[in-house]
Symmetry: C2
Subunit: 331 residues, 2 copies
Amino acid sequence: MAKFTVGVDMGGTNLRVGGYSADWQRLAFVAVPTRVSEGPAVVLADMAAAIRQVIDECGGVAELEGIGVGSPGPIELPEGRLLQPPNLPGFHALELKTELEKLLGLTVIIESDANAAALAEAHAGAGVKYNNDSLCMLTLGTGVGNGLIFDGRIWHGFRGMAGEAGHVSVWPDGIHCTCGNRGCLELFASATGIARMARETAYEGRSPRTRALIDRNVPVTARDVAQFAEENDEGALIVYDTVGRALGLSLAALVNTLNVPLYVIGGGASAAWPLFAPALFRELERASYVYRLTMPEDKMTFTPGMTNVVPAVLGTDSGLLGAAMVPRYQR
Amino acid sequence: MAKFTVGVDMGGTNLRVGGYSADWQRLAFVAVPTRVSEGPAVVLADMAAAIRQVIDECGGVAELEGIGVGSPGPIELPEGRLLQPPNLPGFHALELKTELEKLLGLTVIIESDANAAALAEAHAGAGVKYNNDSLCMLTLGTGVGNGLIFDGRIWHGFRGMAGEAGHVSVWPDGIHCTCGNRGCLELFASATGIARMARETAYEGRSPRTRALIDRNVPVTARDVAQFAEENDEGALIVYDTVGRALGLSLAALVNTLNVPLYVIGGGASAAWPLFAPALFRELERASYVYRLTMPEDKMTFTPGMTNVVPAVLGTDSGLLGAAMVPRYQR
């Protein structure tokens, strides 16, 4: 049998485990619900069982190159200790690495889910397509994840907490965030934020379509809001303009600070790229003189040697694939 | 004779050239006014003459390890091409490296002045004192410079323009900056910004001491404002509270994004550290959950293993010394 690696995507809803060949073809896959309410011990046991199944399907421990686990943050790395993860209530201070290694009898490497997604884009997505191994990724999901890849490797910072641009203020006098700060990017560019802003426009009488959902007691999703915007719903258009402006301001800060060549926007809510990209580029061009000095003539078209902002190339499986890549590209 | 390196600090007011031993003792020094109004050719000729004099005083070209030049930004690196430097009007597109090498017949390495200062702090200042080779430095001068040192080396980004946190918005709806953006850190934490804010408080009737200077047609300096704050002038106290809040917000973004262990505040205006540090730490703690998870028990006391914000250890010569270090620690 050939060498393989195992990736684990520990989401708040689903636990997904994949086995991958040396050239990142998926060989095996298991998905089970994340039983968060039953506590960390049950989730860890489910995870260990799924990992063992994938290892068996891929040919057994003898050919296993390594196991990477992508976890919601914040998380201390390389220790793999969870710190009050908002999407995994009750999991504070969980020693994910130590406990999982005890159950498996195998070494595992823990990584933040956003870093794993960025690693996958670097080595099998945008980084490959655009021939570039330094990038900054923003993942628009329930929250806004952030991963930095410098010269093909994850930039962790000294406690593994680098890449928390989702909790940097874009409007510091804005609404309060669960992180304690105000006006965080995450409040305006996550799926959760999009749904909240759409409800606000509905209450203001500017989104008849969102209003209709609310009146029927149907939860509003970012996907709904995107569809409403495509149908020219005023409130929904305002929401996606705000998404773009928030991302543009955040990218202006990242471009001025890091000056990496490639910025990748991924996650489920990035499917609405055509709706928010115009405001994103308008704001980025206005707020970052470094971007203006290095922007492509057509900002929407990748241009080598310039600062490029592109939608993610991989789909939502990038977190799983990236977790599997962690053993190969670890620190 | 022993090996030596030459550093050049190309300021908007003075050109300073120093020769340094292998352990960073200064062996020779020349300073001349920067004749900006006479154009780049005259400044380059003055610079070449001063460099030659320092080389001669240190023992001649045979023992020269290298020449580093710290220049105001923005500047394309490693090419050493100036891009509309606000403090050097008429120097846009100057090929500093190429032209200086032609005059000298020697290789020179160009670096931004803020990066050079950060390099000096890393290898002879805060980085040595606190035993740490990754840091982020903010230099509070006419503008606000920024330098990033990762593992002992300057982080340049792909076009040499990393470290422009001075032009990241802290209040994005704030006043306009010459860079085109609004509410940049530089507007609230530079010496220029401090003087402007003090004049504003005087016009509002809240700074009798600043008002007295204005009435006598005396230019207001950041140093004056610091003295007035120490004398309990209301407006001056407000100004330094704003300096601290702006720095705290900026540091919150840097801590959340980079997660380096050490942040160094330098430059002339940092002498007022006791005046702005309380607001800085208050705002940083509020706005950055990464900082809260990793802050020292006493935020003003350096604590190994935690996120520390400290005043610079070296004085205003760090830019000159750092320029001399560039040949040794180049990319």
